[in-house]
Structures are given as C-alpha cells and as structure tokens.
Symmetry: C2
Subunit: 142 residues, 2 copies
C-alpha cells in the first residue's frame, strides 16, 4: 500500500485484534508511549463509521488507563496527527513534569535533557504493560 504504518511497526506489538493494534514506541525519553494503529488503511477518523470510531477510541482510552496505572503520569497526551504518515494512528503518551519537553508537546523543541528518573524506563516491561492492556480490552469489559 506504500504506507509505512500499514506494513511495519517501530516498536513492540503489545496487543492486537482484527481491527487495530497497540505498539509500544521505542523511546528513551518517553517510556510510556504507545501507538494505537488501525489495521486497514484509512486517513481520518471521519473516514470510519461511528461504530469503528468508537471501537478505536475505546482502545485508545484503554491505553490511557493502562499508562495512568503503570506510570502515574502528570498528564496524558492523546493525538492523531498523521501528517507524515497519513494512516490512522493515535499517540498515547504518559507525560511527566520532569520529561524533556514538558509542558510543551513532545513535538516541540526540547526544553533540555531528560530530567526524569531512569527507573521510570525500567520498571514497566512490555510484558507488564501488555498484560494490563489485555485485561482492560478483554471482551467481558464490553
């Protein structure tokens, strides 16, 4: 399809179903950073029908819930931009007041070096985050 996110993921796949997948972004500065990626190709949320939009957002909010539990962030950032890769995906990012860009968006010029404690990067393994997502997204939750 010629679409980067249709074909590959820069990170570990933590969870997936036939509709979308959750990838943990490989990021030193942002250990609590996931992407929720639609499997089929579409560019905008309003290209989906209402049921699909709700399903994708439910996955985004499960991600938010898991990141809040495991990283205790000062803020969650949610964004669907896609200017560089116009394939529907959501950024779900745990932000801390001592991270590299706070209080700016992560896409802004860094305010300095990462000031957050290194432990934040090491304590939440992919396995732990993936297990929490699987629990939050289990069909019995619906």
């Amino acid at each position: 399809m010629g679409c980067e996110l249709c074909e590959r993921d820069g990170g570990s796949i933590l969870w997936r179903d036939e509709f979308c997948r959750i990838v943990r972004v490989t990021s030193h500065e942002y250990p609590g950073y996931c992407r929720v990626i639609l499997n089929r190709h579409a560019s905008e949320m309003t290209d989906l029908d209402a049921g699909e939009r709700e399903r994708l957002m439910r996955t985004v909010f499960a991600c938010e819930a898991a990141l809040r539990e495991l990283f205790r962030p000062d803020k969650i950032n949610l964004a669907s931009l896609g200017n560089q890769v116009p394939h529907l995906h959501w950024h779900v990012i745990a932000r801390h007041t001592d991270d590299r860009n706070f209080p700016d968006a992560i896409w802004a010029a860094p305010r300095g070096v990462e000031r957050g404690p290194a432990e934040r990067r090491d304590t939440v393994t992919d396995a732990r985050l993936g297990a929490r997502l699987a629990a939050l997204l289990a069909p019995t939750d619906a």
Copy 2:
C-alpha cells in the same frame, strides 16, 4: 476554579450545549482551528464515564467533518494535550501542505512563513462554520 479554560475562551464560541463548547481559535496561520472544551472540570478522558467520552468525541468528530467540508484540508490533526492547561479540551486543526509547520505538528518550530493562500483565511466566516456545526450536531443526527 483557577482553570484558564473553565473560565474564558480565547476565540469565538461557535456552538455550545450544557456539556461542552466549540471555540474557533484566533489564529492567522490556522484559520481552520477549533477547540472542543468540556464545560465541567476534568483533566483526562478516563476521568469521564464511557457515555461522556463518547459524547465529547462525537463533538470532536463533528468538528472534523465541518472543517473537512469547509477547508478541504490535506490532513486533520486531533489532539488532547493539556500540559499547560489541564482542563479537558481537544484541538481540531485543518492542516494544509503549505501551512507554516507541515508536515510537523503545529507545536513544532515553524519550517518557514505561512505559504498558504490568504483566501483560506477569509472565506470561512465564524457564522458559516458555526451553522455547519449546528447542523452536524443537531439532535436528529443522534
């Protein structure tokens, strides 16, 4: 409440109900830029119940639909950040390949001056955008 967005809006209110409001951001560079702001105070989407989340997103997607119709953008950007003002609000932004930051986020350092045609700023009045939003958000749509 000591929260900037609880109390004032930097722009024109285009639509509102008892739950949230849509403000057009005053921006020379981004004429197709709205904010959807929750009326009551909450910081994160997962502080809302599922019905409230869906209602807020429905308003965000109506905004996206109106901006797509009226600005014919190359991409829509959606974001709920709130690092500076932790009161739930969504940025809904019509992006064009010739805008100041494309393909970066609008929060990144500008790549240059605005290159988009001035007409884009003048053709869509608040009244026109507000009328489209009112139509898309009319109760009969539900």
